[in-house]
């Protein structure tokens, strides 16, 4: 058996194929070139959008007819310009692109999503969502387990780019022994050459020797992870350089918007046919204990415009059938606003799923604003039901195994 190191050394790993596009990357390009929808599970991409800090669900999907909502939110209530979903509920006025998705039957809104005995700590609750384990902790992430499953069933030809996250760090929900690539730019993801008085020095082989030797020399802390990470870095950089670098966005992404930049990078990665299966982007800033309105309005505007551009870009590249976007946040916020025109940590909140694979509509039950638990909403849908629906119905993966339990699925997706 060849190890990956051997492949790398001998240049046998397909990502080393130089200028020719290696076969493992052909799927994306073929689908893109032919412009024909191909929804085979192996071509599907899940894009996870994390709304970090605890998004105010009640001001995102708004129960605008509910008198309790109006009373609870004397300064924060949205009563102008709500984009109605039905006679009770409406989207925040800034969610215009999401409303267009809704009108096209491509937006699912799952209401009242949470979990039993909710934790009001950002970090404890994030880890619950990330691990899909109500005990939280530092175990593998639920998407990490999915990527690891792909590896095990031999559906992970690149070994490095099936999971990508925009940014400098790998998010915990993608954590497992299967590598995930944090991307800040496709172009810069490469080893710089060293110029020794005009001579370009080969640095790759010596580096491989250093890291391999260090990890073999003895059981030292971090030696193994440094070695595998170097191999992943070289493999990923070769993969990225070997692809068609001619991506041109087929939609206008808003300028000066970090979330738009992140989604554009994800789009580039998908269009370049790198075999990405799960992508992760983060929009932070939702922890608005004070002066929430202007901040939250802007965040939702940025989110909506970025998602709108991303979906249009995917559509333009003929890839819309292969893209499912899902948003999540560690919790919603307290029903009553606080004295600082903000909201404190809460519990249940809605999730969005959007894209051509989605069966649009409302799912789950809107939580009661009257029957509260310490001022917080009681959840009506377990978040793991949503995960299970996506794993099983979209990614064609064994949801119960990956989630460590069986959860009722929702008919969120076209089969």
């Amino acid at each position: 058996m060849f190890s990956r190191r051997d492949f790398l050394k001998q240049g046998l790993l397909p990502v080393f194929a130089g200028s020719a596009v290696p076969s493992v990357f052909a799927n994306g390009l073929a689908a893109s070139a032919a412009d024909s929808p191909n929804t085979a599970p192996s071509n599907r991409v899940l894009v996870l959008v994390q709304l970090a800090g605890g998004n105010d669900g009640l001001n995102t999907v708004i129960p605008f007819q509910d008198a309790t909502y109006h009373d609870a939110r004397p300064t924060l209530r949205q009563d102008q310009g709500v984009l109605t979903l039905n006679n009770q509920l409406g989207l925040h006025p800034n969610l215009k692109a999401l409303k267009a998705q809704w009108d096209a039957g491509q937006l699912a809104v799952v209401q009242g999503v949470g979990y039993p005995s909710p934790n009001l700590s950002h970090f404890a609750s994030m880890s619950v969502w990330e691990t899909a384990n109500v005990k939280g902790g530092f175990g593998d992430g639920w998407l990490g387990r999915y990527l690891n499953y792909l590896d095990q069933v031999g559906e992970s030809p690149n070994h490095t780019l099936e999971g990508v996250s925009a940014g400098s760090l790998v998010p915990p929900e993608m954590r497992s022994k299967t590598p995930v690539t944090a991307l800040q730019s496709l172009r810069n993801f490469r080893l710089q050459k060293v110029n020794e008085h005009g001579t370009m020095v080969d640095v790759e082989n010596p580096l491989m020797q250093f890291y391999g030797g260090f990890s073999k020399a003895g059981p030292a802390p971090y030696a193994a992870i440094l070695d595998t990470t170097l191999q992943e870095a070289l493999a990923a950089s070769h993969g990225l350089q070997a692809t068609d670098a001619s991506y041109v966005a087929k939609a206008t992404y808003p300028a000066n918007s970090p979330i738009a930049n992140s989604l554009k990078l994800v789009a580039e990665t998908i269009v370049s046919g790198l075999g990405v299966r799960v992508a992760h982007v983060t929009l932070g800033g939702f922890d608005n204990h004070a002066r929430e309105k202007p901040v939250h309005d802007k965040l939702l505007l940025d989110l909506d415009q970025a998602l709108g551009a991303f979906m249009a870009d995917m559509q333009g590249h003929g890839l819309a059938d292969r893209i499912l976007v899902m948003t999540w946040s560690e919790f919603g916020r307290r029903v009553n606003e606080n004295g600082s025109a903000g909201t404190d940590h809460g519990t249940a909140a809605p999730m969005f799923l959007l894209g051509a694979p989605v069966k649009g509509g409302l799912y789950g039950e809107a939580p009661s604003l009257q029957s509260l638990d310490n001022g917080n909403l009681k959840f009506t849908t377990d978040f793991r039901s949503v995960y299970a629906s996506v794993l099983q119905g979209y990614l064609n993966a064994p949801a119960s195994d990956l989630l460590g339990g069986t959860f009722e699925t929702l008919p969120l997706l076209k089969s």
Binding site: A52, V203, L230, A233, S237, A290
Partner: protein, 490 residues
């Protein structure tokens, strides 16, 4: 490991090197340790049970073997000390402190108030905290200002502790202004080794913190829970030691303090306004009274959970992660017996055997800030360029911009394919610039300065080959040494 203390590095190829530690005969202790590991956590736990601190430390020494004996070299001890309690050293600095000996070097680091730092202060790029326009440029200037301090300070522990507090008592540019964060940074620097209760009381009224965690809007009758929650969850006891009612009640106690100067959000002062303070009776952790924020701090700091959490964090920052329970209990005792003095705990950590145990050697991953600052300090840089500041961000750490209120996750989370490439590419940039003019004495000098002369044999072979094969190639050699896995660790 093969350099005698203070000796001139010897040429590499001809000199016979003693067997590296990992090739030495397996000791009985190693066998025991392996057996314990094989028998699993239960056996290990049994091994720990009921031991005195001295016994525990013996076991710490014995349980890891890869780096056994590494600290027999005084030079390695001092280099380790300078990496952990500071930002590494130039060859000259390492020579000087090794000459002093570990004990004297430790004292000099700890008693930094006695070390003049005018040279640094005079060379710093200017930063005016009162400038509130041009936020982006102010933020970059602030980052460069601090990184320059780390590279050039004569009081490395002062900066290292300031970085510790920035990572624990977080505030960030996503909410607070650059001027406010400059002031907070100076507060951390002033009180870095002082009493924890004093620091927490000052931070509770610090404008950057008041904006970051919303105490500026916390008012009588309109409590805002943000600061109260994080004070307990992250700054003191940790989760599991307080109730949601404690969060709500202590938020009321913290009312009253607000920003000064017309309450603008970028104010650099804070002030107490009596009518904003909730004077009512609060019940906090089973006690009842008309508590203020300072009273809450006074109740939280003496709790054992606070002592254990803070000392675990300090030990993990300086020595190695997940300290043994006996070590935590010992340090928590030191903290409590010394009136919650942080300096006493730091002194204890830097002088305890566990700090110089094989388990502590290269047991931490250099944070991006450490990687960049140590490299620049070692090559004698006197200023910090904008690309160097940007590089720390691409490696995963933007100073004054922690990812959230929990600060930066450490250890393995610093290493992924993207951040490792950025580190290695940063090494290329530094080598390209610094190597031609450097005074390192060839490959042995480079290895001695950056990785204690302690390098994997195969790496040494490869480096030697690179050095001899192509003649004098200082850029490549410096690059390679900075890119080694050994140098990624601390």
């Amino acid at each position: 490991m093969d350099q005698a203390p203070g000796s001139t590095p010897t040429p590499l190829t001809p000199a016979p090197t003693p067997p590296p530690i990992w090739q030495r005969p397996v000791s009985r202790r190693t066998v025991l340790a392996t057996a314990a590991g094989g028998a699993g956590a239960a056996a290990l736990a049994a091994l720990w049970r009921g031991g005195s601190l001295a016994q525990v430390l013996n076991r710490v020494q014995g349980l890891t073997h890869t780096y056994e004996g590494v600290f027999s070299s005084e030079r390695t001890r001092v280099a380790h000390l300078l990496r952990r309690a500071g930002f590494g050293a130039s060859p000259q600095e390492l020579d000087r402190l090794t000459g002093m000996g570990t004990a004297a070097a430790t004292n000099a680091l700890l008693n930094y108030q006695q070390t003049p730092n005018q040279q640094l202060e005079a060379s710093l790029p200017g930063f005016d905290p009162t400038v509130t326009s041009n936020g982006g440029r102010q933020a970059s200037a602030l980052q460069a200002w601090w990184l320059t301090r780390m590279v050039g300070t004569a009081r490395p522990l002062e900066e290292k502790m300031t970085l510790f507090w920035h990572g624990l008592l977080t505030s960030g540019l996503d909410k607070s202004g650059p001027g406010q964060l400059y002031q907070q940074n100076q507060l951390f620097r002033r009180t870095a080794m002082g009493n924890f209760d004093d620091l927490l009381k000052a931070v509770s009224k610090d404008p950057a913190m008041m904006v970051y965690l919303d105490t500026e809007t916390n008012r009588n009758g309109k409590p805002n829970e943000n600061y109260a929650r994080e004070l307990m969850e992250l700054f003191t006891t940790g989760i599991g030691h307080y109730s949601e009612d404690d969060v709500r009640e202590s938020a009321r106690a913290f009312t009253g303090w607000t920003l000064g100067r017309g309450k603008q959000r970028d104010a650099l002062t804070s002030t107490f306004v009596a009518r904003y303070h909730d004077e009512g009776v609060k019940t906090f952790m089973g006690k009842t009274g008309t508590f203020t924020g300072d009273d809450i701090v006074d109740m939280l700091v003496p709790l054992r959970a606070t002592a254990e959490r803070l000392t675990t964090r300090l030990f993990s920052y300086f020595a190695y992660p997940n300290p043994e329970p006996e070590i935590v209990q010992h340090l928590a005792d030191v903290f409590q017996k010394n009136g919650y003095n942080v300096g006493a705990v730091v002194k204890e950590i830097l002088t305890m055997d566990a700090f110089y145990s094989p388990k502590a050697y290269r047991a931490l991953v250099k944070s991006p800030t450490e990687y960049v600052a140590q490299t620049l300090r070692a090559v004698g840089a006197t200023s910090v360029s904008a690309p160097a500041v940007a590089a720390t961000g691409q490696m995963g750490q933007v100073l004054f911009y922690p990812p959230n209120v929990a600060g930066w996750p450490a250890g393995a989370s610093w290493i992924n394919s993207s951040t490792l490439l950025t580190r290695i590419n940063f090494a290329a940039g530094v080598a390209q610039k610094a190597a031609p003019a450097s005074t390192f004495k060839g490959l042995p000098g480079l290895i001695d300065t950056f990785i204690d002369g302690n390098v994997t044999p195969s790496t040494r072979d490869a480096l030697t080959q690179a050095a001899t094969g192509t003649g004098q190639i200082p850029v490549t050699l410096m690059y390679f040494v900075l890119a080694t896995p050994e140098y990624q660790l601390n």
